[in-house]
């Protein structure tokens, strides 16, 4: 996936971009509307994250231009305001969703996923590992010709493991990457989700290996 982040606060932009890259996506950063317009004109993006208060104007102006030019790339607005009326206005202007700063990265991920799923078609989201096909946007897993509908947490866990094939993740790392700390997810819960994924992957070439004392790793035969 390729993201465009339009945010004038460089520190925040840096933090958000690095986190999105960690999830395995490419990010371009624009600090003002003029740059954002230039980026959109020259590159193809799957998703735009847009701040509202920008040095050379209001993000809503960009949003309106964007929609007037029939550009279908979904936009999630990152707003520092919280008035409900403001949010309604944003949706009317053609934003696909909005998120109030400061935000939980897990929620940003979840909203991006939901928006991408709604606008499915453009994105190349199917990955193939051995004999398993995985669509991270729709949440489908095809094993031996059967399509399995993954639950959200299973999906995110599998996405992380597939995206970092061969890398070992401790339970703690997995909790950090997948859940909001507010979710109160224990490390035992990870075992439950790993167990479910193993069940889904039964009979395929893909395996989730437990490395005692270290964590989990995704491997595939062949």
């Amino acid at each position: 996936m390729k993201y465009l982040l339009v945010e004038d606060n460089l520190e925040l932009a840096e933090a958000v971009s690095s986190r999105i890259r960690l999830d395995g996506h490419a990010v371009d950063h624009a600090a003002k509307i003029a740059d954002a317009t230039a980026f959109v004109d020259t590159g193809e993006y799957d998703l735009i994250l847009l701040d509202i208060m920008l040095p050379d104007g209001d993000g809503r102006t960009f949003l309106k231009q964007h929609r007037d030019r029939k550009n279908l790339t979904p936009v999630i607005v990152l707003t520092a305001r919280s008035q409900v009326s403001d949010r309604i206005g944003l949706l009317d202007l053609g934003a696909d969703d909005y998120l109030t700063k400061p935000f939980d990265h897990a929620e940003l991920q979840a909203r991006c996923r939901a928006v991408l799923r709604r606008n499915a078609g453009s994105a190349q989201s199917v990955q193939t590992i051995g004999d398993v096909e995985f669509d991270a946007v729709s949440g489908h897993l095809r094993v031996n010709g059967t399509i399995i509908d993954l639950r959200n947490r299973e999906l995110r866990l599998l996405e992380l493991l597939i995206g970092n094939k061969g890398q070992v993740f401790s339970k703690q790392k997995l909790v950090d990457r997948l859940f909001s700390y507010d979710d109160d997810v224990s490390e035992n819960a990870i075992e439950v989700y790993i167990g479910r994924l193993r069940k889904h992957l039964e009979g395929s070439e893909v395996r989730i290996v437990t490395l005692r004392g270290l964590g989990y790793r995704l491997d595939h035969d062949g």
Binding site: A80, R81, S82, Q83, P102, D104, A110, N152, R153, Q172
Partner: protein
């Protein structure tokens, strides 16, 4: 708001009172004047006839054979005939001696002047009008003065006066009634101008602070001018504070977002438990403060709008559709399914922004306290009354706290370490009350909390 205004009388009533009072006074003056004039004219008429009668008698006075003779022409009495059968009296004197007639008709002193003398006397209580004239006859033994008095009762005159007074009274009354109606009309049109201005200002929405542009009478121009100045100042102040709040929120939230994102990113790289603990505490503190700030602003907005509802027809089912769609990503993070049972259409007259805010808080709570992989149920029903209930499969409310939870900054004891401001239920309750409804907290039989807003 009108309760704060000290009212001192009514301009309309005062104006109407002055105008009708004036009309009454004028009517009385009119009555008196016309009546006096009528009396005078009527008296003049009687006097003329009496004078003619008296003169015709006086004209017949002759000196024959040294004696004064007077002859009553028939016409001299017939001309005094009236519809009221007034009685007629007469007296004829030669010098001071009564020749004929009633001796109580005494001659006035200045009778000897050439002009006819009119006077008024009474006969058995009835008023009499007397006309007296005299003539000097030159006889062989010198001049002799003959005086004739003709008197007549005034019954016919009073009848005429009475009937004309009645007409004048009716005229006066009619004048008074018409002037009063005119006065009331004038008073209400004048005060109507003001009432219309007041209505046009009152009917505005709470956000409308544009100047009054309708034409107003010149007397009201200074008032409207100051009103417009006040409103533009208020508008300026309000928009300044709105801008300020937006700017402040931006200035506070953006660095908080930066710190939070950095802390989260650092958390990915740090393994030592104590470092992780402090980073987590940091993220938590940021969430607490930003949530509190957001909720406080929302609460302020709810309190402000609750007093000035911007009412329109709102379909709760549509509102919930939209809301649930926007909250689904958050629900998915915990694999929570939001199921909706909506009795459509569920319309009410209300403030869409407030209702949305209240319902968002309730759904937000449900998602926060529901365990992963459970259901949150949103139900709209129209009987017995329109109500929305939102229930979750969490541990429910502590029974002894149900009464106190909607209070400001009150949080349940069993909330664990969930981030919250203690304002969500307060906001929902205030919105329900502003719409003439109420909020009820309960626990479901199968476990979990249920919040119902009924309207």
């Amino acid at each position: 708001m009108t309760a704060d205004v000290i009212v001192s009388g009514s301009l309309r009533n005062r104006l109407a009172f002055i105008l009708t009072g004036g009309a009454a006074l004028l009517a009385v003056i009119l009555y008196v004047a016309v009546r006096l004039l009528a009396a005078q004219v009527a008296q003049q008429g009687q006097d003329n006839i009496l004078n003619a009668s008296m003169s015709s008698v006086l004209d017949t006075a002759l000196i024959r054979d040294g004696r004064v003779t007077v002859d009553f022409p028939y016409s001299s009495l017939s001309m005094l005939n009236t519809a009221a059968d007034d009685r007629v009296f007469y007296a004829i004197y030669e010098g001071e001696n009564l020749l004929s007639g009633y001796d109580w008709l005494i001659l006035p002193r200045d009778v000897l002047s050439e002009r006819t003398h009119f006077g008024t006397t009474t006969f058995r209580g009835d008023p009499l009008r007397v006309a007296t004239g005299s003539r000097v006859l030159i006889g062989s033994d010198g001049p002799r003065t003959v005086s004739v008095s003709i008197a007549q009762t005034q019954d016919a005159l009073s009848d005429t006066l009475y009937s004309s007074s009645r007409s004048v009274a009716f005229l006066g009354l009619g004048f008074f009634l018409m002037s009063s109606a005119l006065a009331l009309w004038a008073a209400s049109t004048t005060s109507g101008q003001m009432r219309r201005l007041a209505t046009s200002v009152t009917r505005r929405g709470p956000q409308d602070l544009s100047p009054v542009t309708k034409p107003v009478p010149s007397e009201m121009a200074p008032l409207v001018g100051s009103l417009n100045t006040f409103m533009s100042r208020l508008d300026h102040t309000l928009s300044q504070s709105e801008d300020f709040i937006a700017e402040a929120a931006h200035r506070i939230r953006t660095p908080l977002a930066t710190v939070r994102s950095h802390a989260e990113a650092t958390l990915q790289r740090v393994d030592r438990t104590e470092n992780r603990k402090s980073l987590q505490a940091m993220v938590r503190a940021i969430d607490e403060s930003s949530r509190a700030a957001g909720q406080l602003l929302d609460h302020a907005m709810v309190t402000f709008r609750a007093e000035n509802l911007e009412v329109s027809e709102v379909d709760l089912a549509d509102l919930l559709d939209e809301l649930v769609l926007s909250m689904t990503p958050v629900a998915e993070m915990k694999d929570i399914t939001i199921t909706m049972t909506l009795d459509r259409p569920a319309t009410l007259q209300g403030d869409a922004i407030l209702l949305q805010n209240a319902l968002r808080n309730l759904i937000d709570n449900a998602l926060k306290y529901a365990p992963a992989e459970t259901d949150v149920i949103v139900r709209v029903s129209k009987s017995p009354s329109l109500s929305v209930s939102i229930s979750d499969g969490g541990q429910g409310f502590a029974v002894d706290e149900i009464e106190t939870l909607p209070g400001r900054f009150v949080r349940g004891k069993n909330m664990g370490n969930k981030v919250g401001s203690g304002l969500g239920l307060t906001i929902a309750q205030e919105v329900a009350i502003a719409h003439g409804g109420k909020m009820t907290l309960s626990n479901r039989k199968e476990g979990g909390a249920c919040v119902t807003l009924s309207f």
